[in-house]
Symmetry: C2
């Protein structure tokens, strides 16, 4: 058995090395690759992707995987969880015919520029054909993978959040629908007065970059083990605690967008930088699930950086960088501006209170697309209907509607609901952490490192070696309850 | 035979795909990788390097290569040259034992940070052990590869410049020693008055970046097929006409360093962007040789961008970006400043006239290291002696002496002499092109595109499908003569 384990580990290391290069290639493509270099990059990617696929489907490797899976209870803890993860992904390779798998992979590799172009030109028709192919593959995939217990969208949901089902998500979103949506609509019923002190101002990009750098230091992002760059859509990317990369996007007319993108992605990054180093490069590096990962980014973004304590502590630095723009602006005004809430169209710009409603729109659309009840061609119309149902507003263009998100271009169906779930996890985690270390005191004393340390010990160090349900138990001593989230939001926004 | 050719081409494509990833990894390492990510990157590199090595030494591949080499005269022109190139590199793999080859490769992958650290700390001892290993491998390599016709340093010289030998280089450098060195020493005998108008000035990095961007456009660098970034040491990097990347380094107290780095690397890049697209990703992409490549970067840097016509055409833009620094500076003053010549320590900052003397120092040291007449431990002393012999100056520290260049850390022995040779090629090419299109007129009318076009037709489009000797004949209708270079320098500098 020892020999088999060692042989398996060797093969897995080789696969992980390919994964490293695919990661690097993707990072390059998203952050700097010259436009005309795409086809050349893809042609090289395709060749090595086939090499990796060959290795992954080689009988020697799959026999070992099957055998180790059968004997998983005899393995050490790390290997046992790793085998479980790998066996899950292996199911896809096992059931999807090779040509379909590789064809889909190439489709996804080339999809994001097509989506970006459609969004830029506000033309859903430029995108619908590719999206249709992606959806059809996802539907086919659920057919290939279905069992007596698990069918359809449940299968996709489980990829992003272990053991989560339509039933559980429906219950979660029902709670939000009954307890939160009326509150949100009431709070956002009156169109807010626009604070003229912040509109129509220009914030120099180089000064914004200086502020990003300051925020990285405040949050104790480790620059020797990571970097910040720009891309169209901010994201976090990495396969090891020693190399965790994040991006942001700068907009001259919007200071907050960059501030909270940087904090959000830094939240993701600190999670990965604080993973136990022994997980580097393996599939135990990363987060317990997308939801747990998002809980961390949201915790830093909303609960730390949008708190009065954070805003008041760092107000002086911001005002120094933009003295003209902050002339006659008080801390209280800036705090209220940072937490302003309104019905808006763009998810990534949505405020903390209305955000889950954006996710409910996407969740219902994905459920319909995968079940077949919604057709790709009807998406723009359906999108607009749902936006009206929950937020009582309608997009004027598809660019600010159905074309706004990159996720479907990456083949991610079942991912969106984890955003809302993750934010809800965050509220419960915050509640517990606050009992231990008085979070607002830490923020006021500019000791985010103490918050990082608590999260490291209770969540981060475990990487992907625990399930989300295990992590919630470890971190909060109880299972997940949506009520923490509803209470947190009502409490924060009742007087704002 | 057709089947064998196709099989060979398939295998070669796979090897080229690995090469693409090694290229990307190296680009990442040099331009942005977080410091602590190095070991993780190297561990992944090592695994895929072994995969590529396996493929390259696989009997199926090497048998095909040997057979195609034997039958090279029956192949089409592209394939014939490609096979010749590959056969030449294959000799290394053929004769060097696998463990030595892979060990050396890992040594080189990790060497550049060690060198950088030694340079930063001005401590040759931190570097000498690694350098010693590299030199020993190079010496061993020449033993492995030696034939009746070719021995020692000749073998290394030939890697960078087809068919060049110690004998030919000695003759070339002798001409410079007798005809140029006395002229240079005479021109630089008097310590020049420092022009106070340019010293002690600060040039904002963001403004310098704006100027870089302007220069890329002036030179018609294609931004859709390339990009400019920063690194410690400027370089050009790419495997295809559709993706050619360059770097520069910014120094707040030095405007010229960035200007001429950008132009220099753009010269390299335009060569590669103008390669025939059919060579993309193959070993026929690139330049005919290091010398021919350098001839292009030097032509753009020295002969175009340091010309009176270029300086006067773009002076206004520069003065607009730095109005305070250029107050009361005339075009003529700036032109003389740009072409100031003096005995200096750092090769990459050396002026056009003294530059070849820096190369003579390195040529003699490499010759001695490879023959065994010079020991690594004696390098700092020898370096300083030769600097005094040719330039009559001595470095005060090893950082500005023997530690200044990255090349040996990359295992490049035989590369340096191509810099001087390339500059000499450039003079001859310039002479011929000027007869066809009146270069100064093109520069004055801001039509660098016409210069690019001439170079594309006479040199660039051929990529690496011709030898340097063939390229000189195609471009200038005669073999190489050093006299063009000597005459060019004497003519330009006699009145400056």
């Amino acid at each position: 058995m020892i020999d088999k384990i060692n042989k398996f580990k060797d093969l897995q290391k080789k696969l992980n090395a390919y994964r490293y290069f695919f990661w690097l290639m993707n990072w390059d493509q998203e952050t700097e690759m010259p436009k005309m270099g795409l086809d050349f990059q893809l042609s090289n990617y395709q060749i090595l992707m086939e090499e990796a696929y060959k290795l992954e489907t080689d009988k020697e490797y799959t026999d070992l995987l099957e055998e180790l899976y059968l004997n998983k209870d005899t393995l050490d803890d790390d290997l046992k969880v790793e085998i479980k993860h790998l066996y899950k992904s292996y199911q896809i390779i096992k059931v999807v015919p090779k040509n379909e798998y590789l064809e889909y992979d190439m489709l996804i590799q080339g999809a994001s520029p097509i989506w970006a172009n459609a969004k830029k030109n506000n033309d859903f028709a430029l995108w619908s054909e590719t999206l249709e192919k992606i959806v059809q593959f996802q539907r086919k995939l659920t057919k290939y993978l279905e069992t007596d217990d698990k069918k359809g969208y449940d299968i996709l949901l489980d990829f992003y959040e272990d053991d989560m089902t339509v039933e559980e998500y429906d219950e979660f979103f029902d709670q939000l629908r009954t307890q939160l949506v009326p509150f949100v609509l009431e709070k956002t019923a009156k169109k807010r007065k626009i604070n003229r002190k912040f509109s129509n101002k220009i914030f120099d990009i180089n000064k914004q970059k200086e502020l990003s750098d300051y925020l990285l230091d405040v949050l104790h992002f480790d620059k020797n083990r990571g970097l910040l760059k720009t891309s169209v859509h901010p994201f976090t990317s990495g396969l090891a605690s020693v190399d965790t990369r994040i991006t942001t996007a700068y907009h001259e007319n919007d200071l907050l967008s960059n501030i909270f993108s940087v904090v959000h992605e830094t939240g993701h990054a600190i999670y990965e930088q604080q993973n136990d180093k022994r997980f580097d490069g393996t599939n135990l590096h990363g987060g317990a699930s997308m939801g747990i990962h998002e809980s961390q980014s949201r915790l830093y973004e909303n609960m730390i950086a949008r708190s009065y304590e954070f805003i008041s502590t760092h107000f002086q630095k911001i005002a120094e960088l933009f003295p003209k723009q902050f002339k006659n602006v008080s801390v209280d005004e800036f705090y209220r501006f940072v937490n302003k809430t309104e019905r808006s169209l763009i998810r990534i710009e949505a405020d903390e209170l209305t955000y889950p409603l954006h996710i409910m729109v996407r969740y219902e659309l994905e459920k319909g697309l995968i079940s077949g009840k919604i057709k790709v061609k009807d998406l723009p119309k359906k999108w607009n209907q749902l936006m009206y149902r929950y937020l009582k507003i309608k997009p004027k263009t598809d660019s600010e509607g159905v074309l706004q998100d990159i996720h479907w271009a990456g083949g991610s169906f079942g991912y969106f609901p984890t955003y809302a779930l993750g934010t809800a996890y965050a509220a419960q985690i915050y509640h517990k952490m606050d009992q231990d270390i008085n979070i607002k005191k830490q923020i006021k004393e500019n000791r985010i490192d103490n918050i990082n340390e608590w999260l490291k010990e209770h969540i981060h160090k475990y990487g992907a070696s625990k399930t989300p349900k295990e992590i919630m138990l470890i971190a909060t001593n109880e299972p997940f309850f949506a009520s923490y989230y509803v209470n947190y939001l009502k409490d924060k926004y009742k007087d704002l």
